[in-house]
């Protein structure tokens, strides 16, 4: 069964550094998402992406964050200048349609900011 893959599985970065989290969505999917889960808290929506542009973003997704689909397969989340509070598990998801198909998730990238 096709799956969403995320790399790296664990990223350790110094505060203030830039970090790029990478995702390869399921190949025929059209909608892409990033979520995050801070330890002990709910999974939170960050951003959705369709047709090469952001469809929706949450309040968390400020100017420090950006997303890109640089080619036909990768979908990346960049954090420009990381803060301690960015430490979390970041999940990428993709879906075939907007409404009646579920989102499929990768295994996540655990981001640790020192």
């Amino acid at each position: 069964e096709p799956e969403v893959t995320q790399t790296p599985s664990h990223q350790v970065t110094q505060m203030g550094q830039e970090v790029i989290l990478r995702c390869v969505p399921i190949s025929n999917h059209l909608y892409f998402y990033w979520y995050r889960q801070i330890l002990g808290q709910k999974v939170e929506f960050l951003v959705s992406f369709y047709n090469n542009e952001i469809s929706e973003k949450s309040e968390i997704f400020d100017d420090q964050f950006s997303v890109e689909r640089p080619d036909g397969s990768n979908f990346t989340l960049k954090i420009r200048s990381t803060k301690l509070e960015d430490s979390a598990m970041y999940f990428c998801a993709s879906s075939l349609t907007f409404s009646n198909q579920p989102q499929h998730f990768g295994d996540g990238t655990r981001l640790s900011i020192l």
Partner: protein
């Protein structure tokens, strides 16, 4: 605004006994509801989905959920727990406007031998 509330943060059952994980939703529209499971150090796996077809939804690994509009509930059940069911379970509603998923707080299921 749509939301889901998982009524138990932790549920513990014995192997072979039934599982009940409770979820209530709030939605102005006919909701799309999901249950996802997260095993330790793994991603979120879809267990089942409700999208306004049959109210009793069957999922993977013997799990079921029943959509009850009158009670605004979408509880997850399984007749007989296995050790491998120990995990975190999330009740999720899809936002009708933007498509994003809104997660409940999660219920940690422990299964005792």
């Amino acid at each position: 605004a749509q939301s889901v509330t998982q009524l138990d943060s932790h549920v513990s059952v014995s192997e072979g006994t039934p599982v009940l994980l409770r979820c209530n939703y709030s939605s102005s529209y006919s909701p799309s509801l999901f249950w996802y499971v997260q095993h330790p150090n793994k991603g979120l796996q879809l267990l089942l989905k409700y999208t306004s077809a049959a109210t009793l939804v069957k999922g993977i690994n013997g799990f079921e959920a029943e959509f009850k509009k009158s009670e605004t509930s979408f509880h997850l059940t399984k007749p007989s727990a296995h050790m491998s069911d120990a995990a975190e379970y999330f009740c999720v509603v899809r936002d009708n406007q933007g498509g994003k998923l809104i997660f409940g707080q999660g219920t940690e299921l422990s299964v005792k031998p």
